[in-house]
Subunit: 216 residues, 2 copies
């Protein structure tokens, strides 16, 4: 059995998610940095690991490569069940996956680096336009997210009860980006409360971009 | 126990996914149409069902609402395990979720109606620019997807072995969109072969946009 390797970039919020999951599970891993801005993820060496050329990708100790952050988190939950990152009941799992996918599908893909670069080159979008675009997709999802979290009895200290799980991982990583891009989080008190609870935990704090070996 | 209701729009490819899953499971449901182009999903009645105002959303017989198509598919797999839409082994599940998320996270969110409308109004994008944008994200993901499918011994008649599952559902629904937008699928023979195998199955064929009650 080889080492577990995480292919990552310090500022990638999808990588941030997987780093939190690995931390919560207490799984030791080797950190392989790929500098996205320098295009290192598009080089042949990395494409032979993950043909999609995106981070994160996890290489498990048996050599299995898993890409896509939510697939990786579910894989980790299958391989190392304790502590669980998804609830034991189908209804709870559905709620956690729904919240996770609201962020993973409806915000992040629109706001990641390759898309913002495309908007700049294709449409000549400047910083102000990029900020407005970025904020639009955050607010479109955070408005209903705040409502769903604040109104549900299933919400606890964390998105789902009293233990941090997949939804909190997605939320915390997205919040890191929102703050970096200066998106106003004032309208979302429940989201902010949960984010604060997350960041007091070592697994979340240690996974933050500024604590990675490739941080600038 | 009430009826199971699927909130859908015939042309929504995320709704298409859930319709296939319901068909494969043999689950009877009421079809509630929301005309996205007329903005019916943004009206109060529907927002009280799904605060995100997007389709699909499933309301289960016990009143539970689940939004986000992959969360719904996993919920269906939990509630009605036969036939399974995910493999029994963690490695297989990870592969199916990875393929599914490549489509659900890296193509669809960039190419759905609300985003294309934003590009038109914000940047004055015309049909040619929209087509080019659309095709870019399809090809960026289908290139590695074709490679992963064609090179893996886990690929069978379908994306993962000899039974259709979640990855095939995502692939077939995306292919419907690709063909409608005229994206060239010639470079992807394995994808085309799997898509063809899917569409011979009643559950896939009957879930297609043109067979829905709200089809135009």
């Amino acid at each position: 059995m080889g080492e577990i390797v995480l292919h990552s970039y310090f500022r990638s919020s999808a990588s941030f998610r997987v780093r939190i999951a690995l931390g919560l599970k207490g799984i030791a891993y080797e950190y392989a940095a790929h500098h996205l801005v320098r295009g290192e993820h598009r080089q042949e060496g990395y494409l032979s690991v993950n043909p999609q050329g995106l981070v994160p990708a996890l290489v498990w100790s048996d050599g299995t490569m898993v890409a896509q952050s939510m697939a990786i988190i579910e894989f980790l939950d299958d391989m190392v069940p304790d502590p669980p990152l998804l609830p034991p009941d189908p209804h709870g799992r559905a709620r956690v996956r729904m919240i996770s996918q609201m962020i993973a599908c409806d915000i992040h893909p629109l706001n990641n680096t390759r898309v913002l670069k495309d908007l700049r080159s294709r449409f000549g979008a400047d910083d102000a336009v990029i900020s407005d675009w970025y904020a639009r997709w955050v607010h479109e999802t955070f408005r209903p997210l705040e409502k769903m979290l604040s109104e549900s009895p299933a919400t606890g200290t964390f998105c789902h009860g009293e233990q941090p799980g997949m939804a909190d991982i997605l939320l915390a990583a997205q919040m890191g980006n929102n703050l970096r891009f200066g998106v106003d989080m004032a309208p979302y008190p429940t989201v902010r409360r949960i984010h604060k609870a997350c960041m007091t935990l070592t697994a979340f704090a240690q996974a933050a971009p500024e604590h990675q070996p490739d941080a600038e």
